[in-house]
């Protein structure tokens, strides 16, 4: 497992060095788009339809559109000063007070050198008091809200969150408010739910779709083909053609010769 970042949890006057690891494996089986004819991975080019040519990444800037069709060009994002990934604890709510809708990505946190003791203390205290830490995290330059909590007795986990204002509030009114159920209907529904009430057991829910896809890949394994040798010969010809054109251009402009 590779750590994504080194960082620091700021907790009052204490700072705990940590390493951040992605917690969830991608659920998708890795596939790439390849050219059917030669099995080469295709590339994407940035193309400008006005100038009718491919553009290099250095020629591209970030532009925010205005309603009238104009663009405001934004300066390139400032490079974050090296290594300053901080997780600043703001307060300690209870976990059930935070709606799961706000959770985005989960990370494992590992204590960095010299951080073991403070890390263990934070985990134990939160677990005993039934509270979690609401924090502002700043990985790279983008800040976001996060929850740091004890996953078990020893290990902390962090959930990056959406900012609450990102929630589309009008969705909350989509359910009907004017429906009334009879006592009998309610009882029946409750009996049914009671009957099906069970604790959540993660082991019972394998990702069947993924397994099916993996089986399919394994079955097709004998038909696998290496990418067919691309045509580097053509690229050599192109390169030599460019050199020739450049020599020609210099001759026409009277430079480059003695």
């Amino acid at each position: 497992m590779r750590s994504l970042y080194k960082g620091i949890i700021g907790f009052g006057l204490v700072s705990i060095p940590i390493q951040v690891y992605k917690a969830m494996e991608s659920e998708r089986v890795t596939t790439h788009w390849i050219h059917d004819a030669c099995h080469t991975r295709i590339q994407y080019q940035k193309y400008c339809p006005t100038c009718e040519r491919a553009v290099e990444s250095g020629e591209v800037v970030s532009g925010a559109p205005l309603p009238d069709g104009r663009f405001v060009v934004l300066p390139p994002p400032e490079k974050s000063p090296g290594g300053d990934h901080t997780i600043t604890i703001l307060n300690f709510p209870e976990l059930r007070e935070i709606d799961p809708v706000f959770y985005e990505t989960a990370y494992w946190l590992k204590p960095g050198p010299g951080g073991q003791k403070a890390y263990a203390l934070l985990a134990q205290v939160m677990r005993e008091m039934g509270r979690v830490a609401l924090a502002e995290m700043r990985l790279r330059s983008r800040p976001s809200l996060a929850v740091v909590r004890a996953f078990n007795d020893h290990t902390l986990m962090m959930h990056r969150m959406y900012y609450p204002e990102s929630l589309r509030q009008d969705g909350a009114a989509l359910g009907p408010a004017d429906q009334t159920a009879s006592e009998k209907e309610l009882d029946m529904a409750k009996t049914l739910v009671d009957h099906m009430a069970e604790a959540f057991d993660p082991a019972r829910y394998p990702n069947e779709h993924r397994l099916e896809k993996l089986r399919q890949i394994e079955a097709l394994m004998p038909t696998a083909e290496a990418p067919r040798a691309a045509q580097p010969g053509q690229e050599v010809l192109d390169l030599m053609e460019k050199l020739r054109a450049s020599v020609q251009a210099q001759a026409e402009h009277g430079t480059g010769t003695e």
């Binding site: 080194k6 490079k79 974050s80 290594g83 040798a229 390169l239 210099q250 001759a251 430079t255």
Partner: protein, 284 residues
């Protein structure tokens, strides 16, 4: 048979009666296809032992021929010496530029102009074989173009010159667009876009002198823990090719040509492969 060698010209020139072609950054190769097929390095080693992919060239060449060529590792439209050294290239190309024997006759005592004629008559760019093109007279202009594209340099050859095996002759001269230097990699860093950089330095009596940073080459395995901070490492040697140095001694337009493995980022051979053998030859 050893290939003919070139002297380094003090500066690029244009001259009537001379032939100028791109100097490709790779390993020299003498290709012999007669009753059997062989590709020899400059020192006579069998290059196909290191690059089995080259066996395919037999089908791309006419029979009964001996050619002088440069083996290059080709990716993304240009040669990459470090891929050649690591044997990690997706594509290898034999850039053929001279014909020494053809259909029962040695051509070494004939002038270059005649040998080039024979080369173009018999060999075409196909598969892993590419016929290296050139131009008459305009050496300085070609050198400017080659510098612009950050290629290694230009070979200048007198059109009336004979082929002198193993000899370094003034009839062949090279214009070098890039300087090369061995230096120490002292630190690693990863940019925001994920690209790794090596911090390089020279070591002199007065201590370390920083030479700036250079993109980490493909085929090098970065260490497990990331972060935008520089990670200082036990220094290891790398050879960089660069256009020039700034006043502070930093490299401009630098890239890694080859490097000696260190503990960090040492190559992991694919399952079933042993560790890499020594490189066949140091290049010219």
């Amino acid at each position: 048979m050893s290939p003919m060698l070139a002297i380094t010209a003090p500066e690029a020139f244009s001259r009537p009666g001379w032939w100028f072609e791109t100097k490709w950054d790779g390993y020299r190769a003498i290709i012999s296809l007669g009753r059997r097929f062989a590709i020899y390095s400059r020192r006579g080693h069998n290059l196909m032992a290191w690059y089995p992919e080259l066996a395919q060239a037999e089908g791309d060449l006419p029979g009964d021929i001996v050619l002088d060529a440069e083996l290059v590792a080709w990716s993304a439209g240009r040669p990459h010496f470090s891929d050649l050294q690591r044997r990690s290239a997706g594509q290898y190309l034999l850039m053929v530029f001279d014909c020494l024997y053809s259909e029962g006759r040695w051509l070494m005592h004939e002038p270059l102009a005649r040998r080039l004629e024979e080369l173009h008559r018999r060999v075409a760019t196909r598969g892993v074989v590419a016929v290296s093109d050139g131009i008459h007279e305009k050496g300085a202009a070609l050198f400017a173009a080659v510098r612009e594209m950050e290629l290694e340099g230009v070979m200048a050859k007198r059109l009336d010159s004979l082929y002198l095996p193993g000899r370094r002759s003034p009839a062949w001269q090279k214009f070098l667009a890039l300087k090369t230097e061995w230096c120490w990699v002292t630190g690693l860093a990863q940019a925001d876009d994920g690209q790794w950089y090596w911090h390089v330095a020279t070591h002199a009596d007065s201590g370390w002198q920083a030479m700036g940073k250079v993109r980490a080459p493909g085929g090098w395995n970065p260490p497990p823990s990331a972060g935008s901070r520089i990670q200082w490492v036990h220094p290891f040697l790398a050879q960089v090719a660069y256009r020039e140095r700034t006043r502070e001694g930093h490299l401009r337009h630098a890239r890694v040509r080859q490097w000696k493995s260190s503990d960090i980022g040492a190559e992991n051979p694919a399952p079933g492969e042993g560790p890499l053998p020594r490189s066949p030859d140091s290049p010219e």
